[in-house]
Subunit: 261 residues, 2 copies
């Protein structure tokens, strides 16, 4: 037996989330990867994944692992997977890891990036990878609100019903709003994320950008622990799981540009 | 009667080219636009288009025009179109123009951009908008070859059979190869383009990048006027019609970054 870790990129447009379901509305990333492995080496495995992305959510750096008895050499695994996977899923790295490695439980911190298309008429080439908000957004207010979200908080306000977390304390190391012409990017880096947490944070930041919430209300909204204080949820297809970190390196060492405010 | 000009962006992935066909394998951009206009104002029109993009080719700045008797105000046309068009086609601008304006015949010069994904493992988010070339390419040789293609030449070598052009003399004002990490962009600006000309130019530049053709052979390949000397045709889905110019402004005035070699 050995334990294999994969780094996976996927366009979530055509998938009903990551996690294999008993009754599924369509293909999932997990199901597709497990099925391809079975076709490759005739072995049923169960993948563990770092982040359970929802339907329509993308990943450029999802991490999964699985235990296998197959003898396929480490350096042939990516190529074997990619030869059978559909073109919207690619294995970027495959390596043998110690048995105590679990993609979900070993993760120290994760990075998500969210894209908003703020043009009046949406960019057709970004339509599957952005949330289109045609009205003007006050970016500096969004940045101020994002600053209030950073730090260790009880994030219950920003957790949708249906998650399996029993605690709501999390540390958000960085919540950054940047823009490049009409593309707004929100980056969230934290030690853990509640169900729909990034999408509810982005929805709240958009409400700030539209002037429905002032940045100064954010500390009170956090403290309230009431989901109805953070009503708007950003659409799934603007969200990307970008990076999962398994070492003690800080996010600011791995991504130096996160230092710039 | 009046003459309306539209600026159109589209993701060509799901279309069988621009031009409406008698027997078509699937929807075309022209057919979709004409059908939407008919649904909007109950009038059959025939669009003229600046560039007849092939199946899978994209546009961020296609220009079309049509004559109409409909009284819909100029400033409502884009919104009306966009309310009924599929999300992969957007009207960016609509305006009344003089009757002597024809999107095809009035064009002075056009710009096409071509994207090559030069990663070993393709970027899943660019797979519909790039040609994936996993092998190393010599960019400076590609740039040198592109320089030889600039100017006024008989481009018969670079014209596929099936075009309706009777002359092959064209001026290529600029043929530029740039790269940003693993993304290579080829920009072609010219007073007219033969059938598949940009894709055959890019295919030839890739053959140069791979070392199959040396840049110094390009003048001889042009002079030969033999299609077999430019064998490789770049795939359709890396190609974008970016801009069509109808004034006497030079490409270097409209796009100052084209000056940098």
């Amino acid at each position: 037996m050995r334990n294999i870790r994969l780094k996976v990129a996927y366009d979530g447009t055509n998938y009903h989330g990551f996690q294999r379901q008993i009754k599924t509305a369509g293909p999932t990333i997990q199901g597709t990867l497990e099925d391809v492995w079975q076709r490759l080496v005739d072995e049923k495995v169960t993948l563990a994944m770092a982040g359970r992305t929802d339907a329509g959510v993308h990943a450029s750096g999802q991490i999964v692992n699985f235990e296998t008895e197959a003898r396929i050499p480490e350096d042939k695994i990516s190529k074997a997977f990619n030869s059978l996977l559909p073109k919207d899923i690619r294995i970027l790295l495959a390596e043998n890891v110690p048995f105590d490695f679990n993609a979900r439980w070993s993760a120290v911190w994760k990075r998500y990036d969210y894209q908003i298309d703020n043009r009046r008429i949406p960019d057709v080439f970004k339509r599957l990878y952005t949330w289109h908000i045609p009205v003007p957004l006050n970016i500096s207010n969004m940045q101020a609100a994002a600053n209030f979200l950073e730090g260790r908080h009880n994030f219950k306000t920003f957790a949708a019903a249906g998650g399996d977390s029993k605690t709501f304390e999390r540390t958000l190391y960085r919540c950054q709003v940047r823009f490049d012409q009409d593309l707004i990017r929100v980056t969230c880096v934290g030690d853990g994320f509640l169900y729909h947490m990034v999408r509810i944070i982005v929805g709240t930041l958009v409400d700030v950008g539209r002037g429905r919430i002032s940045p100064e209300e954010i500390p009170d909204i956090i403290k309230s622990q009431e989901r109805r204080r953070a009503r708007l949820i950003a659409s799934a297809h603007g969200l990307f799981l970008t990076h999962v970190n398994y070492t003690e390196e800080s996010p600011f060492e791995v991504f130096p540009d996160l230092n710039s405010k």
